[in-house]
Amino acid sequence: MSSALRFQGVVKNYGRLRALDGLDLDVPQGSIFGLVGSNGAGKTTAMAIALGLLRPGTGTLDILGVGPFTPEQHAGRVALLPQDSQFPPHARIEELLRFYGRLQGVTPEAIAPNISELLNWVHLADRRRSPVRTLSHGMKRRLSIAQAFLGHPDLVLLDEPLNGLDPKEAARVRDLIRERRGRQTIVISSHQLTDIEALCDHVAFIEKGKLVRQDTLDKIVRRSHRVTYHISSGTLPLAQLQAALPDVEWEQHGNRVIAGFPTRYTTEELNTAVLRILLEARVGVLEIRRGSDLESEYLRLAAEPPPLLPPK
């Protein structure tokens, strides 16, 4: 699969502070790609560098296979939802989108239908003539999302897209992003790992300006040889579990227990044994899922907590 966005050893300093420390990243074309990292990890900086808002120190960048960002090569083919940027307050929504759309290269005939589609998309069609200053924070965020999809760009970078949205709108935006899978490359930066997990097929963990891990979501949460048990009450009977399943690795993150099992087991065999022991110990089981969850994997990579019991 070819790359829509590639960083190789990109360094960015803000004065004496190193924001990106040789970042490597490879975003496959057509993927929905999640960028995960703690505050100040370099996610926003990476996005801004990709689209020429910030100048990198060293390293190489390739966007859509034609080199680093230049307006001549990339304008109209890329878009960004910046994190904390405001719109001109007196501009009216429709006029603002028309202005952005025309800059994006949308033809005059296509611009009105495109704006209508996007405003319906983000539930702002009835506010199309309203000045930006009259919108709530969530509405402005939805307008931000709409502008990023003007002209159907090949690569869309969304920095914390669901921040400030109410649950209903957030769910709607998630659906709409999913609909674009395979048609556009979408990079999402978020602290909400459940959102990343729900939307993305590829994930990269960034910490202190460096790539910690990048892979498909399936491989990161190890769906083929891990099972997560979401328990509600009771004390985990670790001794019995270990005795019954001696070569399984156990981890506990709050009320989530993750079993890492070797390939000679099937998931069904594992579940049968584990559920029997948990039910006998009167431990409530709320959910069973293949693989661990992104949050556990992220915390594991970020902090490397030791497993409850080492495998024999």
């Binding site: 808002l53 405001q86 952005y100």
Partner: protein, 301 residues
């Protein structure tokens, strides 16, 4: 290239329409209009009082309206000879004496105040977009240079509209308050002075937007804009005064680099004087604008 030109045009159009939509620019237009109308009314009142003194001294009947005495005086040979002597350049004096007094006053007024209004409206235009982050929605859709040139073009167009409005306001005041008013010649000369004032204000617009690219704080940009206006004026006077032979020739260079040094040429109507002034003023506008761009092109947004 086509994309850059298209970006320039779209940004210029948006800058103009956005300016017209926003209340601040409506206030600015009103300022131009009210300033020109108010100053013209004051000028006519002043003219009327001088004329009153003159006819009293000569023992004639006092005129009801302003302008009748001035119009007669303006055309009289002794008065024209006296003014030619005062100006010192016969050809320039003849050029100016062909212009109705009210248009002449408008020419002086617009050249004196337009740079100030330009600083007031344009010096924060880039910095406020940097400060609010709204620039981040734009830069990936076009280049920085076409965006900036579009901004300049939009502001220049806005300034031209404001100057036309102020000329219209001044003309209307004259029409109401002056006797023997040469309507068409005054309108023609006022329009011509509006164009000249616009050309004269271009380097100030370049300076305002140049400074705006250096500051991420709009208020700071505004303050620097006004400081640069004062500095430019001081440098023009200083360089006029200090220029001379030897090392002092360096002041000739300083003089050429200030817009004020080219203002005098705008009073003429012949190509020999006007064309070099226009070339200098446009070049200075580009020089100031791109001096700021040297930083803007590399700055993190």
């Amino acid at each position: 290239m086509n994309r850059a030109l298209s970006t320039l045009g779209i940004v210029a159009g948006n800058e103009l329409s956005d300016s017209i939509r926003s209340r601040r620019v409506i206030v600015m237009f009103l300022l131009y209009l009210a300033g020109a109308m108010g100053a013209t009314a004051l000028f006519i009142t002043f003219l009327h009082s001088i004329e009153g003194e003159l006819v009293k001294t000569l023992g004639l009947d006092a005129p009801k309206d302003a302008g009748s005495v001035t119009a007669t005086l303006w055309k009289s040979r002794p008065f024209r000879d006296m003014l030619t002597g005062l100006i010192g350049e016969k050809k320039l004096a003849e050029t100016l004496l062909d212009v109705p007094p009210l248009a002449l006053f408008y020419g002086w007024l617009s050249c004196a105040f337009t740079p100030m209004l330009v600083m007031l409206t344009a010096s924060a235009r880039v910095s406020e977009e940097i400060a609010s982050g709204s620039i981040r929605y734009l830069m990936f859709r076009g280049g920085r240079a076409p965006w900036l040139l579009g901004k300049f073009a939009g502001q220049a167009a806005q300034m031209f509209i404001a100057l036309l409005l102020s000329a219209l306001g001044a003309w209307v005041i004259g029409w109401f308050r002056m006797t023997g008013y040469d309507g068409w010649p005054t309108a023609y000369h006022m329009l011509w002075f509006a164009v000249k004032a616009w050309l004269y204000a271009l380097p100030f617009l370049g300076l305002a937007l140049g400074i705006s690219q250096l500051c991420a704080l709009p208020n700071l940009a505004l303050a620097f804009g006004f400081m640069s206006l004062v500095a430019a004026s001081v440098l023009t006077s200083l360089s006029n005064w200090l220029a001379g032979e030897g090392w002092r020739r360096i002041w000739d260079l300083v003089n050429v680099l200030t817009p004020g040094a080219h203002r005098h040429a705008l009073w003429w109507n012949d190509a020999e004087h006007l064309l070099p002034a226009i070339v200098f003023l446009v070049t200075l506008a580009a020089l100031y604008l791109f001096a700021g761009y040297a930083r803007f092109a590399r700055r993190d947004l």
